[in-house]
Symmetry: C2
Subunit: 169 residues, 2 copies
């Protein structure tokens, strides 16, 4: 289930590319710089769209790494333009997809230490997946989505969910 | 893992009660009717806060039911006030918590039919959990959170995440 759950987080990130395309089309149609959306926020003391994307990427990357017993690769938060954000999403997806199902064999036994956790504590694999990785990936993606939605970009829930594996009944 | 994943969705709903408390305190401090927030939206063609809460509840309820081989109980969308929304959250949590771990023994083999899916199709248990239940619960909770955040309520990401099971390293 770890492999499948992490693959779904990776797909959620991939869905973001559709929103970026729609943001770009909207900016072009309305004759404004799409960079305005990249710095958009829902509140003045909230981090901007760019950060929300970087953060979603980081939780996906870290989850794929720690739960497969690897140290996450370092991706610096230098992105400013929409194309730089696309590249950030793509390198995150490429890393997550480089991890094979077999590499998650010991995911449940991983103990993950987080810089913002109480000193001397860790999360066990399942809690890290369910309480940290998944909710954070969706939270930051949803905040990015909300910034676009609030600003008039034509994104809808199916763009958030992405492809669904319907099968014959 | 089904039991744990669904328990985490239930906890995510429970976290919403903290946001409702903060919304009520904020409305009292600013001398406005908290009902204004209950009808809040991020865009004119988006469903209001109340709907976002009802929808998050419905996906949590439906997931707990279908994945344990039960038909979901019917909860009509009649809530209008903040206290009615609290009651909706509580009855959803109570139902989800009534399902035991043993009842999810056949979750992976469940085939779930959805009214909005293509005719004649279903989702298998793992896809239903990962592609439908979890992302929808978090999406609708995040939209509810975003409406409050955008309107100045002092909610933060830790209110979204809720309790974290840190253990000694």
């Amino acid at each position: 289930m770890y492999y499948q759950a992490i693959a779904q987080c990776t797909q959620a990130l991939r869905n973001l590319e559709t929103w970026l395309d729609k943001a770009e089309e909207y900016a072009a149609a309305k004759h404004f710089d799409v960079g305005v959306l990249m710095t958009g926020r829902l509140a003045p003391d909230m981090r901007p769209f760019t950060y929300q994307v970087q953060s979603a990427c980081d939780y996906a990357k870290a989850g794929a790494a720690w739960l497969s017993g690897q140290k996450p690769p370092r991706h610096d938060d230098t992105e400013q333009t929409i194309n730089e954000l696309r590249a950030r999403v793509r390198k995150t997806v490429a890393f997550a997809e480089s991890v094979t199902e077999a590499q998650y064999a010991h995911a449940a036994e991983q103990r993950v230490s987080l810089s913002f956790g109480p000193p001397g504590t860790v999360l066990v694999g399942s809690d890290y997946l369910l309480q940290m990785m998944i909710p954070n990936v969706y939270f930051h993606l949803a905040m990015a989505y909300a910034v676009l939605r609030h600003n008039g970009v034509d994104v809808g829930k199916m763009d958030f969910l992405g492809p669904i594996s319907w099968v014959g009944a």
